[in-house]
């Protein structure tokens, strides 16, 4: 198909006139229609990170254990004993709004391929989800449909593929009404000696296409993910791909088996921008050219143009380069698994992506310029957008007794069992700690090591202060690992923001990255990869800046430390102390959101040094076997964390006596970080360790049967039957659906 390249056509491809001039410079001529399409997807925000690249460089990416940092399909760290883990988080926000089930399903599929293309078998998935309010009169019905569809889509794909979905988070805010977030994290395990890279090499080596056939689905998915939603977005439904988890399972097994032949030189999945991205990126990384013949590409529709074939985002496809002369060994494995595997081209020495159809050249572009020299923008950034006051409103009289059950039933806090029970969180029998723990723990059967992982992000905090909010997310992710006894080692991030062309949104992005960089540097947890999702806006309304951090760490394989109280008669201690807050900082809390119904002020104050000492201390306490249960304080503060500690099978409660200068509702529900609630039979030793690490760890009470009683300086703040609180907590989400 030939089409005249007009300014309109260029604009439709979301390329600026300057970007177009750069294309002409690179080619030394006008591009063909196919070439224009190829450039447009590779230079889309989604693929090129043109607005964020400059700032992403501020993130720490190196470390002793980092085997592979950003730039590959997934980051890799060494976990000892000859094994590595590959992990990454990616967003599938735009497709999940347009078609929740398939959007979410293919989000899982895409990140799984990123993991196994590195030679690692995926062993765990987690999801970070954001939706609009389920109870909103105008948008609630749609939000409930999106939630239902997204959860079913994740379940459908992960369960069939055979990877456990072991944790995640789910938050509801009006700002996600027209723009839900679906961020999927996956982690895989490989032998250190058997890592594969997405790099082409060896002139004359065959380029092999494997997996599903190419159709017209998903054309321009990457570009769609790089634009705001408008009324016309619904017409983009055909841009959403359809997932086939069974095909993906075959692809996984076949790829891992084919890798064992030793005849594979490099391999990359076809995700965003499909065949275009996999060919030019593999060529660019290997500093070679790749030439392919489109007639040989397996197609499930007739009459597809080169433009369509190159831009299709059909799922469950991989591209690999094999050793010349050993193709048959590779092809035989794919035949065994009943998959299409076709030699579609060769590696060349000229550094160009050359695409032929019926023998004629339809595109010829230098790989490096296409893949790595996309435009780079230093977009103007001013003050981060915020439209809420710093000062607290007049607060209503507090009723702690009534507030606690209300908070426990709040959408962000209540049990997400309805969601995670639809996920197979146990398949492969490695899940030592699954949903419901502060961090998930997966044992590595081949070694005595387990891997712990957590996902954290708080859009409210980040809206109030992107820098502090991002630091808090890193601190909490680390704390979640420390609470289960794991040492945080490395992280992956998913940066969900609005339109970067608005300086006040760009400022959110810049400050969040800088905050995240500072905290990750401090905790020595380099970011080994991730994803940026911009233009999360619908009809000009942006989401809260929502950076999500996925943290991984290791610990010795052993039964997990429960988050709930196990026995009555134990001492309850608050490692890190009661913390502090004021009316300004209280504005970011769940209490402010659910009970006051407002957002104001600033996020909780984070002292990185103190947080670090608290985490060292809790890990030490766990290592000495002192801790019977441990749970970190986050949304809803002390009151919510204490209640959650009581929701174990035994329904052990607690009698608490606090002493503080804070108002009762602030004392109960403020969200200052660096605090962990533990139960122990050895309070003396716990106190010693706390003292050694120069942190507070007051004994705040005893565990008792069946109820919670909280007093402050002998005045009762509230008392509750656990069964009633648990009913509010467990039943809330389902009741809203």
């Amino acid at each position: 198909m030939t089409a005249e390249i007009t300014p309109d056509l260029i604009a439709q491809h979301q390329l600026t006139p300057e970007e177009y001039r750069k294309i002409v410079d690179i080619l030394g001529r006008e591009p063909s229609y196919t070439e224009l399409g190829i450039f447009s997807v590779m230079w889309s925000e989604h693929c090129s990170y043109k607005s964020s690249r400059l700032h992403l460089k501020k993130l720490p990416t190196r470390g002793k254990l980092v085997v592979q940092g950003p730039g590959e399909n997934a980051g890799i760290i060494d976990i000892g004993d000859g094994y590595v883990i590959a992990f990454k988080i990616e967003s599938h926000n735009h497709p999940s709004f347009i078609e929740p089930f398939q959007g979410a399903a293919t989000g899982v599929g895409g990140i799984l391929r990123d993991i196994f293309t590195m030679g690692a078998r995926p062993v765990a998935v987690m999801d970070s989800l954001r939706f609009g309010r389920l109870d909103d009169a105008a948008t609630g019905a749609r939000n409930r449909r999106i939630l239902s569809g997204v959860v079913s889509g994740i379940a459908h794909y992960g369960n069939c593929f055979g990877v456990p979905t072991v944790g995640g988070e789910c938050i509801f805010e009006p700002c996600y009404d027209g723009n839900p977030l679906v961020n999927v994290f996956a982690l895989g395990v490989a032998k250190k000696e058997e890592i594969f890279y997405a790099k082409a090499a060896g002139i004359g080596n065959p380029v092999i296409y494997v997996g599903a056939r190419t159709g017209r689905d998903g054309i321009h998915g990457a570009s769609m993910a790089s634009a705001e939603f408008t009324e016309e977005s619904k017409q983009k439904r055909p841009n959403v791909q359809v997932g086939d988890p069974f095909m993906e399972k075959l692809l996984l097994e076949a790829c891992l088996e084919a890798m064992k032949t030793g005849a594979i030189v490099g391999i990359q999945d076809m995700g965003a921008a499909g065949l275009t991205c996999s060919t030019c990126e593999m060529g660019s990384r290997g500093e070679v050219g790749i030439e392919i013949e489109l007639d040989r590409v397996p197609q499930r529709e007739t009459g597809m143009t080169p433009y369509e074939i190159m831009l299709s985002e059909s799922q469950e496809r991989m591209l690999l380069v094999a050793d010349k002369g050993r193709e048959e060994e590779v092809l035989a494995v794919f035949r065994k698994w009943g998959l299409d595997a076709v030699e579609i081209g060769t590696v060349t020495g000229d550094g160009k992506l050359r695409v032929r159809q019926h023998g004629a050249v339809v595109a010829e572009i230098p790989n490096r310029e296409l893949a790595d020299e996309a435009p780079l923008y230093d977009r103007p950034h001013t003050k981060p957008l915020r439209r809420v006051p710093l000062e607290a409103p007049r607060l209503p009289a507090a009723d702690v007794q009534a507030a606690l059950p209300r908070l426990l039933a709040a959408p962000d806090i209540c049990s997400k069992r309805w969601i995670w029970q639809q996920y197979d969180y146990q398949v492969r029998t490695n899940t030592v700690a699954g949903p419901g723990y502060d961090a998930a723990i997966l044992r590595i059967k081949e070694t005595g090591t387990s891997v712990a992982m957590s996902l954290d992000g708080n859009g409210r905090y980040c809206y109030l202060s992107p820098r502090e909010g991002a630091r808090l997310a890193v601190a909490e992710a680390c704390r979640n690992l420390s609470v289960v006894g794991a040492k945080p080692l490395a992280a992956t991030n998913c940066l969900n923001f609005g339109n970067p062309e608005r300086p006040e949104i760009m400022a959110q992005l810049v400050e969040a990255i800088e905050g995240m960089a500072e905290a990750c540097r401090f905790f020595d947890t380099p970011i080994t990869g991730g994803n940026v999702s911009l233009y999360n806006e619908t009809l000009g309304e942006g989401i809260y800046p929502t950076p999500v951090i996925g943290m991984v760490g290791t610990l010795a394989t052993a039964p997990p430390i429960p988050s709930t109280f196990q026995n009555a008669g134990r001492t309850v201690m608050l490692v890190g102390g009661i913390g502090t807050s004021d009316d300004t900082r209280f504005g970011s809390s769940q209490y402010a959101k659910e009970i006051v119904g407002k957002l104001w002020g600033l996020p909780p104050l984070l002292d990185l040094e103190y947080e670090q000492r608290v985490q060292y201390a809790i890990r030490r306490m766990i290592a000495e076997g002192l801790i019977e249960s441990a749970h970190d304080l986050s949304d809803g503060g002390f009151g919510v964390a204490l209640s959650e500690c009581c929701f174990g099978p035994a329904e052990i409660g607690a009698q608490i006596e606090l002493a503080s200068h804070l108002r009762p509702e602030v004392l109960m529900f403020h969200e200052s970080p660096a605090r962990i609630l533990v139960s122990t039979a050895n309070p003396k030793r716990v106190a010693e360790i706390a003292q050694k690490h120069e942190i507070e760890a007051p004994a705040v009470g005893k565990t008792i049967e069946n109820s919670i009683e909280i007093r402050e300086r002998s005045i009762t703040l509230g008392s509750w039957e656990i069964a009633a609180l648990k009913a509010a907590y467990e039943g809330s989400l389902e009741a809203q659906l």
């Binding site: 069939c160 069974f246 996920y423 146990q426 398949v427 039964p559």
Partner: protein, 225 residues
């Protein structure tokens, strides 16, 4: 004793069954590929959980036609013990080795959680190490586990003592709370819960080992079914 673990392309609990047999039980195990026409020298067969051929049509509907299922049928006809877990149960029903059908869960949702099972008979090679009435805590993970059969079949199963397990807290709407059934000869068991996931203390329960250990005990000739 050697267990053969059948591997369909979409099996995803095959490694778990293998690991439970080999590492938690200390027995031999080997995988048998779905297009194999023979089972080799195995003493028992496990049809593991998963999505045999994707199961987009109906769970197990395609698997029944696979070459290996013809071998499994012969093995069962000769009296060899066959354990179908989850998708394996669905395959056994589709293949006609067990009566009834497995419908979508009453909630229409996939459910993964621990359930409590009551052992209804100890007269089988899969339950001979258990006491009748014993309670086991074992996980389920399925979207289509609602056991269904006509009244006559259900009566017959009960009259012939062929209900192996019942749910105490029926999670999926199964008729008469049935979680696992035996064939008339008592050498084929299909069950929706996953005993291989409750075979290691690290996974929170070892109650599932009862099923696998019974198979070893039965094979040793210590008990007669």
């Amino acid at each position: 004793m050697k267990f053969g673990v059948i591997v369909f392309p979409g099996s995803n609990c095959d490694h778990d069954a293998f690991y439970a047999v080999a590492n938690n039980l200390g027995q031999k195990a080997e995988f048998v590929w779905h297009d194999s026409a023979t089972l080799g020298a195995v003493d028992a067969v496990i049809l593991p959980g998963g999505f045999a051929y994707g199961d987009y049509l109906r769970c197990g509907a395609i698997a029944r036609f696979s070459p290996v299922m013809q071998a499994v049928k012969r093995f069962a006809a000769e009296g060899g013990p066959v354990l179908g877990i989850c998708n394996g149960f669905q395959v056994l029903v589709e293949a006609g080795l067990l009566p009834g059908a497995l419908l979508r869960n009453r909630s229409l949702k996939f459910i993964c959680r621990d359930v409590h099972l009551r052992v209804e008979t100890s007269r089988s090679p899969f339950t001979c190490s258990a006491e009748r009435g014993e309670i086991l805590r074992v996980p389920i993970a399925h979207g289509e586990g609602c056991y269904y059969a006509d009244e006559r079949t259900l009566d017959e199963l009960e009259a012939e003592d062929r209900v192996a397990f019942r749910y105490l807290d029926n999670p999926n709407g199964s008729l008469r709370d049935i979680a696992g059934i035996l064939n008339r000869e008592r050498n084929v068991l299909g069950m929706m819960p996953h005993p291989e996931r409750a075979a290691d203390p690290l996974m929170g329960s070892t109650d599932g080992l009862t099923v696998l250990a019974s198979m070893v005990r039965a094979a040793s000739g210590a008990v007669r079914a």
